[in-house]
């Protein structure tokens, strides 16, 4: 019965703001979520570090580790005591936990950044066009120059062959498992799931024992080992993706009189397209990074070998491995640049995968 403005009059209060006050249209500053507030923790943390440094000076320790440990413990103790005085032990526990979580977050992020900076810094020394256009054929261990041309070609060929075989097989197997649900589904699914856990080196070992020991190293053998590794993982991911396609898509198509193959090819697979592409890209990224199985099957050479079916062939990972093991500074520098190239390749593939998957889900209107 009363309108909004009458409330104040009726309740006889003076809030200092009349109904026309323009300040009522501007959001209030509530000082951030107090449950996450770090400001109150800054002083205790700094005091803790100070105490530790003081102890180090006075007691004449020389270990960085000891200093860090004492600093952390002292800082937490200060946080606890300080907050407890003001707000009670419940909030004090909350503050200590907040500090610890932030600490582990910072440590983890710090390690990530350290790693990337390290790789980039060491790797950029030899980065240049010549690195990509030469191989190691006429280059001695201590000579400058040389490059990864042979390794990159090797990686591309080996992973390319592996992907060409494993991706179609995996996707069709996933279709068999989820859409057709044939008689051997249970067995196939079980063994696929089991083999996703196969350590990569064991795959290389099997190919080695079966083929390489009799017929020699080759890039194709490496491709075979990679295929054995890729099929279970890509199949399982693809099946999970198919499972996320809602059944009412399929029912809609069937209700229009479509046969099963048309439903799959014209409705399900297009809907799953971005997910499947992402799975493919990620599978390829993993294959690029495999070292052990490739080493056991293609070994690696210094010279360029463009034929994956005959003779040992180099691979980016094998290259880095060999150079690192050599122990002399020049080789190691080359290794680092190779490592940086690897990281960049994986980064590019990964970003492409994310891009595809985000475009896929936005076009579905999710």
């Amino acid at each position: 019965m009363s309108s909004a403005t009458d409330v104040s009059t009726q309740m006889n209060i003076d809030s200092g703001l009349t109904a026309d006050d323009p300040r009522l249209d501007i959001p209030r500053n509530l000082g951030g979520s107090q449950l996450q507030n770090l400001d109150g923790l800054l002083l205790p943390i700094v005091s803790g570090i100070a105490v530790s440094l003081l102890a180090r000076f006075v007691l004449d320790w020389d270990g960085l580790m000891s200093t860090v440990v004492v600093a952390v413990i002292a800082a937490m103790a200060f946080v606890w005591v300080g907050t407890r005085e003001r707000s009670g032990s419940l909030v004090a526990t909350n503050s200590v936990v907040t500090a610890l979580v932030w600490l582990s977050g910072t440590v983890a992020i710090g390690a990530i950044v350290w790693m990337l900076v390290f790789v980039i810094e060491k790797g950029s020394k030899r980065f240049g066009l010549s690195y990509f256009t030469h191989d190691m054929a006429k280059v001695g261990p201590l000579d400058p120059g040389g490059g990864v041309l042979h390794s990159i070609v090797g990686t591309l060929e080996q992973v390319g062959i592996a992907a060409t075989f494993s991706i179609p097989i995996s996707v069709l197997t996933a279709v068999y498992l989820h859409e057709i649900r044939g008689r051997i589904s249970t067995v196939v699914r079980f063994i696929v799931n089991a083999m996703t856990g196969l350590p990569s080196i064991v795959s290389g070992l099997v190919v080695y024992a079966l083929w390489v020991s009799g017929h020699g190293y080759s890039g194709a053998a490496a491709a075979a080992a990679l295929t054995i590794l890729m099929i279970p993982t890509v199949t399982r991911t693809a099946e999970e993706i198919l499972r996320t396609i809602p059944d009412h898509y399929r029912e809609g198509a069937l209700a229009l009189g479509a046969q099963r193959w048309r439903v799959v090819v014209k409705v399900v697979l297009p809907a799953a397209r971005s997910g499947l592409i992402t799975a493919t890209i990620l599978g390829v990224a993993r294959a690029i990074g495999e070292t052990a199985p490739v080493r056991l099957t293609a070994l690696g050479t210094q010279a360029f070998n463009g034929n994956p079916f005959k003779d040992p062939q180099s691979n980016l990972t094998t290259f880095v491995w060999d150079q690192v093991r050599s122990g002399n500074a020049v080789q190691i520098e080359r290794a680092w640049t190779g490592a940086m190239v690897l990281v960049v390749m994986v980064l590019v593939l990964f970003t492409a995968a994310r891009f595809v998957s985000s475009r896929g889900s936005s076009s579905k209107g999710r």
Binding site: M1, A4, T5, V7, S8, Q10, L24, D25, P27, L35
Partner: protein, 269 residues
Amino acid sequence: MTAVLDLTTTTRTSSTLRAENLSAWFGKRKVLERCSLGMAANTVTALIGPSGCGKSTFIRMLNRMHELVPSAQMAGSVYLDDTDIYGGGLTAPEVRREIGMVFQKPNPFPSMSIRQNVLAGLALSGTRTSGHDELVERCLRGAGLWNEVKDRLNDNGAGLSGGQQQRLCIARALALKPKVLLMDEPCSALDPISTRVIEQTIAELAAEVTIVIVTHNMQQAQRVSNTCAFFLVEDYGQPGRIVEFGITTDMFGNPTDQRTADYVSGRFG
């Protein structure tokens, strides 16, 4: 016809809640504009109106749950007796110990027994009391659940029926002896019999706590509330506003605003 609400009375443990010129945003979108409402001690106030008018947003501003959404912002004040809950004196958890909330979907903690659920609020808010057994019994009686669960207090809290779970959540909120109890559509997920039991509970609880209830069900508003506020959005993109408020029987029998009259007679919903 007109009745002046005497909002200056205060009673023993419960309190007056006053919202003044509350506005709310989610990011740049304004969802509530200048809503003011007085909720007297020991009364039941119903917030009614069609969906999407900001009733839930309004009630969540009364116990500072609105600000949990990262893009949420507010303006205006809410006074519990004489203290601005958004002022510097009180932290959000402290406010929530005085102003409790029951949600639309019952949410007992699945990792705890019935007894532990009732006492959960004490541990979570750092309140210490003695006499846990008496407290559990008193709260479960207050929520109308005691007779049904007194022999199985150690059973899992999530194993009850929907209506029982909701009463358990009411008992859990009562354990903190709040001054105000907010209820955001507490019966909309329940069957009619559970709804009836809970409405009876609300009537009894009003003697101890001030209650504010959001409801879609106009008949429920008539059954349980003393006072009523009608929220409305004029058009797409407009913020919600309180169009009219007053004593429930007057609002439904003799509304002042034409829009209120249209809503309560079901001409739009």
